[in-house]
Symmetry: C2
Subunit: 294 residues, 2 copies
């Protein structure tokens, strides 16, 4: 039997993603010998031990010093502080990664705190649900989903390969990408959709009271799908928008222009323009089904 | 054994909704003795007979004269012409209904063609998928979903009760509503979400080519949910926007104001405003789950 890829994995921030990684380590052989939980909430640490998701759990950042893989899985707004606190406890040879949804800001916040000899490889598993906390994770979360790694130039290739193997072992498909490119792609595929969903659900809750209850009752007509997205973790998403500001503002601008054009087509009864767009968008769905991402 | 609610049901326009109703008639006892398909496409009629979804199928509108329930299930843009063609063949005592997503325009287009003694009761089952055509229907489509009826004042109550019983037999929950109120509620719960989904998918397809393929590959991050909605039938949706123009334009305006406010909060780094909204929208999801519409 070959040795697992890592000895101990520290998961810092034990929410949906962190606890899903821990479940992968427990269920899939060859990933690691054990999991150490670091979370600023003692209640979360207690729960993690109760669920048997880690062999050790505590609020002390020094716990990472015994681990050869350290995964930062808190909301990205905490990363600057976290880097300063965790950095001194990282030991040479350790692979340090994260699961944040923005990559340029993560590099800005973490890289200055990484000691020599530690391999910092930013990462982003494209997986999640609208649920949060250590109870919400599951080992199949990453299965068939992409995990994007955005190593900076000069990163140790063996470390990248080892981390890739770890994510493959969790069921992911791996893609290596330039951090700025990642942030632009995600701005359109993920950040804008979430912002739109938050907006439309907010618009509905601002309606006159007698309409509000109707919106809930009759939500199974499109609106419902948006409420699922708009139920995602508020802190995580606040941090994403604040940290991918430029790319997000750029796609909002494009979106608004397009919506204004449609609004005008509706006002002037330009049915052909509507039909043409709706036919084009239907084809996009087909591409996604063909790409097996549906 | 009691007699079924209706003898023969004519379904005019045999797509997702029409063929689902036909499947309900076939699978659930007590609804009707048989189904007659009227569709302007001979190919659809042939397919309907092949699938065994109707005992008779043809393009001749006179086929409705032998039926005591007539369900109009074409896109609503066809209703004005359809009313003129079908009207003369309706016989006294018949219940005439439709499944259109806008109710004021349907009343405007159909009511003038309804002969005395025919009970016209506009209806709207809040159910659907992104698929179209007679093959896409299924008998469980309406189960646990609302069906809204919008009878005009003076409508025969026994006819409303009989149609309600028919939809209950298909698995629906019934709600009676004023047509204008229906159109306002649906503008926010259904029409705006669809328009937004069409817009965002359109925005993505207008990206530079190298980004486009990435959008497909990495769609499992929010965007994917929008593509499903944006794959809905183009003709049906064109007709909805053109026929519920005032209500849709009003909610687009509200939505745009709210999006602009969020855009500004992102630009100026106002994290508290974002967090407050995202927390509020999460609660809406909970209401929908509590209302068993999730």
């Amino acid at each position: 039997m070959t040795a697992p890829l890592f000895n101990k994995v520290a998961i810092v921030g034990f929410g949906l993603i962190g606890s899903s990684i821990a479940r992968c380590v427990a269920e899939y052989p060859g990933l690691a010998n054990g999991v150490v939980c670091v979370d600023r909430s003692q209640a979360v640490c207690d729960r993690v031990l109760e669920l048997g998701l880690a062999q050790q759990a505590g609020t002390d950042p020094a716990l990472v010093s015994q681990c050869d893989l350290v995964v930062l899985a808190t909301p990205i707004g905490a990363f600057a502080d976290l880097g300063a606190v965790i950095g001194p406890h990282l030991t040479a040879g350790t692979v340090l990664t994260d699961v944040g949804s923005v990559k340029q800001s993560v590099i800005r916040d973490i890289a200055p705190h990484v000691p020599d000899g530690v391999h910092f490889i930013p990462g982003h598993p494209l997986a999640g649900t609208e649920h949060s906390g250590p109870d919400s994770g599951f080992a199949l979360l990453f299965k068939g989903r992409w995990c994007i790694l955005t190593p900076t130039p000069g990163t140790n290739q063996a470390a990248v390969d080892r981390l890739s193997a770890f994510w493959s072992g969790c069921g992911s498909m791996i893609e290596v990408m330039e951090p700025g490119h990642h942030d632009r792609v995600l701005a359109i595929t993920s950040h804008l959709p979430h912002l739109i969903a938050y907006t439309i659900v907010g618009t509905a809750t601002d309606l006159e009271e007698h309409l509000q209850s109707e919106v809930i009752r009759f939500s199974a007509t499109g609106f419902r799908d948006f409420t699922r997205i708009a139920a995602s973790d508020p802190t995580m998403w606040r941090d994403i928008f604040l940290n991918n500001r430029e790319a997000v503002l750029e796609v909002i601008q494009r979106f608004t222009e397009d919506l204004t054009a449609l609004q005008r087509a509706i006002r002037w009864g330009e049915g052909d323009k509507l039909h043409e767009l709706f036919t084009r968008t239907r084809a996009v769905r087909r591409s996604i089904i063909d790409a097996k991402q549906a």
